[in-house]
């Protein structure tokens, strides 16, 4: 009797082992890509994906995933004129050996020396591309993820291996209306009028995160890993349900 039970247990365990193996293979296969060579061999290739951020053609240093103080450093030596546009070309680079889908999360903020100033309007920090707010030929905004604090842009096509994306932005400026936010004070002798600007001495800040995801099983990956349900990939094109 006990032998029969033990046998059943062994059979169940064996079946479970086989099922587990199949399950694991399926999980791995969701990332594996099939590559067809000139010969008729079929290789099952495993690999990783990798994405990097570029500002004005410069790639981020590899010191860590989060680089504070790296953006806008080229502007630190000059007085920023309100309304004047400065170069700020933002791109993504696929440094891996296979395509990937890419999205970029952009956060703008005002800050004093120590802290972010959430009472001031981040919309007065303007990013743009040519005559538009961004490069809409290659990128699309997901309004569902966009708030007053951040905007999320998806690249419309998969970013090929070892390739730079089309620029998302090419310029940054502080809105000219900053110069209109002031109070006037007249000196006691009445000879001098001094303007005090609300935004004077503050810092305009930028926080940009580029994220990538595997190109195979992209729809499942986008839903599961990025947690968005209104972004889909069809025939290699990303579309967003409004």
């Amino acid at each position: 009797m006990n032998n029969r039970k033990n046998k059943k247990l062994k059979v169940l365990t064996a079946l479970f082992g086989v099922a587990s193996l199949v399950f694991a293979m399926l999980a791995i296969q969701s990332f594996a890509s099939l590559r067809y060579g000139n010969s008729r061999d079929v290789d099952l290739e495993m690999g990783s994906i990798d994405v990097r951020l570029l500002e004005n053609g410069n790639i981020t240093p590899e010191v860590s995933k989060d680089k504070e103080g790296w953006l806008l450093r080229e502007l630190n030596d000059q007085a920023v004129d309100p309304g004047y546009s400065y170069d700020e070309v933002i791109e993504a680079r696929n440094t891996a050996d296979q395509p990937e889908y890419v999205r970029v999360i952009v956060r703008k903020y005002w800050a004093d020396e120590d802290n972010k100033r959430v009472d001031l309007d981040p919309a007065l920090i303007k990013l743009g591309y040519k005559d538009a707010d961004f490069n809409s030929d290659a990128w699309i905004i997901n309004d569902a993820e966009t708030t007053s604090e951040q905007t999320v842009y998806y690249m419309k096509k998969a970013l090929p291996a070892k390739t730079d994306s089309p620029a998302l932005f090419d310029r940054i400026s502080a809105d000219a209306s900053l110069a209109d936010a002031y109070t006037l004070k007249t000196s006691e002798d009445g000879k001098t009028i001094t303007a005090t600007y609300e935004y004077d001495g503050l810092h305009m800040g930028l926080d940009i995160e580029v994220q990538s995801i595997q190109h195979t099983s992209a729809n499942e990956a986008i839903t599961s890993a990025w947690g968005v349900t209104n972004v889909t990939v069809s025939d290699g094109t990303v579309s967003i349900k409004r």
Binding site: L9, F31, V51, W70, D81, S85, A174, G201
Partner: protein, 165 residues
């Protein structure tokens, strides 16, 4: 003893199965979808304040006027001279940069930090006897450079002219 052994065996395999299931669940979440990210941040200072200083040097009854940018940002400047009909104003710079629009004289260059305008000369045309009876008052205004786009300066309120870029 045999019953005990069977129970222990069952428990053992149950634990093993649980561990395997848990591992596979974790593995499935870790390996199912591959992602990567790269993040950078930074900030740059905004300086909106400016500071200019007018220099009025007397030359007899006449005045030589220049304006210096003593701040840290670009500015535009203009000058108005109050003296009735007794005064004529002349741009005495080697290069002519003062431009009259209405009652004001506008400097046609952006004044960078540390720069000084060319000379604007107010010449009093009256007799010495009359000279004690009036005063030449010079008012200067300056403004922070603000751009409408990269090719045009935005004119401050009431300004009839801004330098061309």
């Amino acid at each position: 003893m045999t019953v005990k052994g069977t129970k222990r065996t069952k428990k053992f395999w149950a634990v093993v199965c649980a561990v395997i299931v848990a591992s596979l669940m974790c593995a499935s979440f870790s390996f199912a979808y591959f992602t990567d990210y790269d993040r950078a941040s930074g900030k740059t200072g905004i300086s909106l304040a400016w500071e200019t200083n007018i220099k009025e040097e007397m030359d007899g009854n006449n005045k030589s006027i220049t304006i210096e940018n003593i701040g840290e940002t670009d500015t535009i400047v203009r000058v108005r001279i109050f003296a009735g009909d007794f005064v004529t104003v002349e741009d005495r710079g080697l290069e002519k940069h003062w431009k009259q629009e209405g009652d004001w004289w506008y400097y046609d260059r952006i004044l960078a930090p540390g720069q000084t305008t060319t000379e604007l000369y107010a010449e009093v045309k009256t007799t010495d006897a009359d000279a004690d009876d009036f005063e030449v008052t010079v008012v200067h205004e300056s403004a922070r450079t603000v751009y409408e786009n990269n090719k045009t300066l935005k004119a401050p309120e009431d300004w009839a002219y801004v330098p061309e870029l």
